[in-house]
């Protein structure tokens, strides 16, 4: 097959490479491509609908005759179900059905687990009935504290096999060995020999802790289920993966996948917790469909905020012992030993930061274990493992830098090998005025100022997980002159429909408002789940191929109209099509389309390039990012304010500067919130979450948000035909780490535990003894 030459790289480091493009693949938009619409800061199409309340979310779907369901949940963290008495609940006015989800003898493993469900005409009747279901339990010993759960004295959480939930789009770390008690090792990441690297080096070792964070999407988990007949089910789901909802329901109810239709017109956030028909800790999707079947009426089941907090997933906590060693500016050894709990679930690893960013270090071991506790299951959450790993490792690195007497940036530059990240560190340092700011924080620190300032920096690592063949896109040129793009992808909130329209507008050189995008429906062609930051890079290349194919057919149609050869048709920017002296407008050519439309369907091939650096030896590109943070600390109260974050990110070729910047803003805000306030608080005596709300579970608001400066450093990877890569997850990885490093700079003492609340800051300042561990 013929080779095609493309220009790849970034900044002034661009080079030509020749690639063998898979059959049917459009020539990639490379460094030389001059694009008119793609890349521009175009507002999302549904912005006005969302801010005016006209966008209808799953929560807003109301069908004629619809019933409301509610789930009875265990108030105990560990128990055996002795009996379930539904008789009182059945007598409540409006109640249509009461079903058991747990049977007599079943084990309850966490407070919040499904036990029974009710369905009624009105939501308040359903809640009342749920309270009237009488469940008798035999209490069992339980453990919710991580540090204790890892000891041999702790009660065993799982007596039977552990159910593993896989989240599509994530390269999971996977189980690495057999469980011992509640502790189960994950596969270690290892290179070289750490003990060798420690010899003769300056060593820093300390323990770092992170908290459980909950996804807390604005729209809670929920579904509306309607049986059209015995074989056909239609659901409206608040999901980030339409097709995993479809497949799960098809499997549970033994239906053909094509007989299950899933709609997600708008989604109020997912962050990793909304894959499949249900939630990580509740079978709410299948419960709703089961109740709908039983009652013969559509059923809506939405979680309330309390349920959302306890049974729909979370980011696991961690206790990480980090050892890092260096000579001069060279890192010689890195070792991370970590435990974390994903409750009854799995996946409490700490990501790839310690292993895969400062790759010049020859000796690295990252060894982590899941520890089971009687709490709601953890699940993928925006860059699973990474923010916790980045926090511990980057702060440890700064502590080592202090011991070595080197500047934190110098240490990072000396050990990172990713050319884009090196460039981001250097450019960012200039833009941030790093040296002057660090000098000022030193002055304030040494003068024991009341208000201190501090700066920190941390790195991000992610891969371009764009998936082949997953998205099948149809493009049609319609007789009315519009171009329609169809694909069943959901919009998790990134603005993907707007981006798809931009691709269409670019290929056809047509006005953006003539491009129709249909999405959010499983009938519109298969697509990817929005996880792993892969949606844009999975779907846009398929859209481009479909558009290019439809355009080719359209040109054939025009050539026929003009009595010319397709190759002779020229396409002007205003839509005039001409050949051999004759011409026709785009609109006229459309009107003459035989039948309704000219249509083409296409997908995207596997990733075929990885410039400038692959991701951990895999065939895909590695995505680079660096964030700089500045904090202000009040030493009288211990209050930390995040003042400024400079976020330098690689996102391949940026498709839309506005929606992409918005992703980075969201990542930084989430990271700031994680760094300073978010925290699931458990009472370990009763095994319950004490803050299952959005009041004492604190999420940073406008007044807590730093000034965010986003710099998108375009990189032409040659990985796919649009050049898109991911940004959602990489943009939240380094924020908490950079803020922690900044607090260290401000105080001269590290706060080795997230969130960095006044309590911990005052302890770091020596004003009080360090508070008891999270454990």
């Amino acid at each position: 097959m013929a080779k095609t030459e493309i220009k790849v790289g970034f900044g002034d480091q661009v080079k030509a490479v020749s690639v063998e493009l898979p059959k049917g693949e459009a020539k990639p938009w490379d460094a030389d491509a001059q694009l008119e619409v793609v890349g521009k800061p175009i507002p999302r199409r549904d912005g006005a609908l969302k801010v005016s309340g006209r966008a209808k979310y799953t929560y807003d779907v109301n069908l004629p005759g619809m019933l409301y369901a509610a789930v009875v949940r265990s108030p105990l963290p560990a128990a055996k179900v002795v009996s379930v008495d539904t008789s009182a609940a059945e007598k409540i006015a409006g109640v249509k059905a009461v079903v058991q989800v747990a049977e007599k003898g079943d084990a309850v493993l966490f407070a919040g687990q499904d036990v029974a469900a009710v369905v009624a005409e009105r939501p308040e009747q359903a809640w009342q009935a749920a309270r009237a279901v009488k469940v008798e339990y035999e209490q069992r010993r339980f453990v919710t504290r991580l540090a204790f759960a890892a000891t041999p004295d702790a009660p065993l959480v799982h007596r039977g096999a552990v159910e593993e939930r896989r989240t599509e789009g994530h390269v999971t770390e996977g189980g690495g060995g057999d469980a011992q008690g509640n502790k189960r090792p994950l596969r270690p990441m290892k290179k070289g020999d750490v003990s060798k690297g420690l010899k003769g080096a300056t060593v820093h070792e300390a323990v770092y802790e992170t908290q459980v964070q909950t996804h807390s999407a604005l729209e809670t988990h929920g579904i509306v289920a309607r049986w059209d007949d015995d074989e056909h089910l239609t659901v409206w789901a608040s999901t980030q993966s339409i097709f995993s909802v479809r497949d799960e329901l098809a499997e549970v109810f033994d239906l053909k996948p094509t007989n299950v239709r899933v709609h997600t017109d708008y989604l109020g956030g997912g962050f990793g917790a909304k894959f499949g028909a249900s939630a990580p800790g509740s079978r709410l999707g299948t419960i709703a469909a089961r109740l709908a079947k039983q009652t013969g009426a559509p059923v809506k089941l939405m979680c309330d905020r309390h349920e959302e907090q306890v049974c729909t997933g979370n980011r696991p906590d961690s206790i990480q012992t980090v050892k890092v060693a260096g000579k001069g500016t060279a890192l010689t050894a890195i070792e991370v030993q970590s435990i974390g709990t994903a409750g009854i679930g799995t996946g409490a690893g700490v990501g790839r930061n310690a292993f895969a960013v400062y790759t010049k270090c020859p000796n690295i071991l990252v060894d982590s274990s899941d520890v089971f506790t009687n709490a709601g299951p953890g699940t993928a959450m925006r860059a699973p493992g990474h923010p916790q790993g980045a926090f511990a490792f980057e702060l440890a690195l700064d502590e080592l830098a202090t011991k070595l007497g080197v500047d934190p940036i110098e240490l990072r530059l000396a050990n990172d090998e990713h050319p884009v990240r090196l460039w981001q560190f250097e450019e960012g340092a200039k833009r941030f005025d790093w040296k002057a700011k660090r000098a000022e924080s030193k002055r304030l620190r040494e003068g024991k100022a009341r208000i201190r300032r501090g700066c920190g920096v941390a790195a991000s690592i992610w891969g371009d997980f764009g998936r082949p063949k997953a998205a099948v896109v149809t493009c049609s040129v319609l007789r009315d002159g519009s171009v329609e793009i169809r694909n069943g992808v959901q919009d998790i909130g990134t603005g993907i429909p707007t981006v798809l329209a931009q691709i269409g507008a670019e290929v056809f050189t047509r006005p953006l408002d003539t491009i129709i995008v249909r999405y959010g429906d499983s009938e519109l062609g298969s697509s990817v789940g929005s996880g792993g930051s892969q949606t844009t890079s999975s779907v846009t290349p398929a859209v481009r191929n479909a558009c290019e194919d439809a355009k080719e057919k359209f040109i054939e149609h025009v050539a026929e109209l003009l009595g010319a050869k397709p190759a002779d048709v020229s396409w002007a920017n205003d839509g005039t099509l001409s050949a051999g002296g004759a011409s026709i407008t785009f609109a006229q050519a459309c009107k003459k389309i035989p039948g309704e439309s000219i249509t083409a369907t296409a997908d995207r091939p596997a990733t075929y390039g990885n410039h400038p650096m692959p991701f951990l030896g895999a065939p895909m590109p590695q995505i680079a990012g660096v964030q700089f943070a500045e904090v202000e600390v009040d030493t009288w109260t211990g209050v930390v304010r995040a003042k400024h974050v400079l976020a330098m990110h690689d996102c391949g070729r940026v498709m839309n500067r506005l929606t992409c910047t918005s992703q980075v803003n969201g990542g930084v805000i989430l990271g700031t919130s994680y760094a300073l306030m978010e925290q699931r608080v458990m009472d370990h005596d009763v095994g319950r979450m004490l803050n299952p709300n959005l009041e004492s579970y604190k999420i940073c608001g406008a007044a807590d948000t730093p000034e965010i400066e986003v710099v998108l450093t375009d990189v032409y990877t040659g990985a796919n035909n649009t050049g898109a890569a991911g940004i959602g997850e990489p943009s939240t990885i380094p924020t908490a780490a950079a803020l922690a490093c900044a607090v260290f700079d401000a105080l001269g003492e590290p706060v080795r535990r997230l969130p960095m609340t006044p309590s911990r800051v005052l302890a770091a300042l020596g004003a009080v003894p360090a508070p008891k561990g999270l454990g």
């Binding site: 009341r450 211990g638 300073l676 306030m677 458990m682 009041e695 004492s696 604190k698 007044a703 008891k772």
Partner: protein
């Protein structure tokens, strides 16, 4: 939440009598922010909410207004919202503490509904109290679950047998400003010093105030300002908006001939009642304002603290907050 009836009665007496006849089933609604929170959580299930906003006539006007009184003081009606109070420009700066306390509570939207009376009478935010499945001392249980549980936000002063902190931000301000409150009861209106409105848990751990069931808080009465009176309020929060303070301080004083006089210091969110600090007052009365003496006073104020296992940090934090309030009240420059 249980179904309920909203009852609108046009007179103060009718409203009062309606509730006192069956206080188990009926309660007043002012802004409804705290009340509905509790009902949604299943902590309270009244059948009838008696709408205080429906009260008309002279009493209604008094409850809704902010007005100068004949003796030279000011009266703030119980139905005045926190937002109205915070934005009320005519209230002299001598009373700045209460305006600042009102203006920094909760969020703008809550402040537009929350009333002065409801704020002072709201129930505690302790997460053991607010969790419907947990039976704590406040709800008739045997023990304060915060003692052995997670008590990071609980009392460091005056705790026992309950260790809640009083939730009202106006609380420390009204105590520092030496305000009184007017209450409508069976035998008409009566006026008591504000600090007698609040009841420590030693009296009855299930209650935080001294109103009898069915009694209505009518107004907060600020005494005439002393010549040269100044006041200040300060707080520290984990989250800058939509969060309760970790500690607050309100200070009233005059500075005459270079020395502090007429000082009243009250701390909020550190004790089950707004906490008057005589210790701080003793250090400062008659002293010349300075960063050093403020630090000493703050230390004295907290020297009587008895923190629980998880809230020792509130001791230095409350000291810091009080130091700020003292600097602001006396216009003493902050140290660098």
């Amino acid at each position: 939440m249980n179904p309920f009836t909203l009852v609108r009665l046009p007179t103060l007496d009718a409203a009062r009598e309606r509730v006192s006849a069956e206080p188990q089933r009926r309660t007043f609604r002012a802004g409804g922010i705290d009340l509905l929170d509790r009902m949604k959580e299943g902590l309270d299930a009244p059948d009838e909410l008696i709408e205080l906003h429906a009260i008309a006539g002279e009493h209604g006007a008094r409850m809704r207004g902010i007005a100068a009184t004949e003796d030279g003081g000011w009266r703030i009606g119980a139905l005045v919202t926190l937002g109205q109070l915070a934005g009320y420009d005519d209230l002299p700066p001598a009373y700045g503490a209460i305006k600042d306390a009102a203006g920094n509570a909760a969020t703008p939207s809550i402040r537009n509904g929350a009333t002065v009376g409801g704020n002072l009478l709201q129930r505690p935010r302790c997460w053991y109290f607010r969790h419907s499945d947990l039976l704590c001392l406040k709800k008739g249980g045997y023990e304060c679950l915060a003692v052995s549980g997670d008590n990071r936000f609980n009392a460091i002063l005056g705790g026992g047998p309950s260790f809640i902190v009083h939730p009202s931000s106006l609380g420390s301000a009204v105590v520092a400003l030496d305000a009184k409150v007017t209450i409508a009861g069976e035998s008409g209106l009566r006026t008591i010093p504000a600090d007698q409105l609040f009841a420590p848990p030693t009296v009855d751990p299930t209650r935080e105030h001294t109103l009898a069931p069915g009694e209505v808080l009518v107004s907060v009465d600020l005494p005439p300002a002393l010549p040269g009176q100044r006041s200040a309020y300060h707080f520290a929060k984990e989250k800058q908006s939509q969060d309760w303070p970790l500690a607050e301080a309100s200070v009233r004083c005059t500075v005459e001939g270079g020395v502090i006089q007429d000082l009243r210091v009250a701390l909020g969110h550190v004790a089950p009642i707004p906490w008057r600090s005589k210790e701080a007052e003793d250090v400062l009365e008659g002293a010349a304002p300075s960063a050093e003496v403020f630090a000493k006073a703050a230390q004295a104020a907290l020297s009587v603290a008895e923190p629980l296992e998880g809230n020792a940090y509130k001791v230095p934090l409350a000291q810091g907050v009080l130091r700020y309030a003292l600097h602001f009240a006396t216009s003493t420059p902050l140290p660098a």
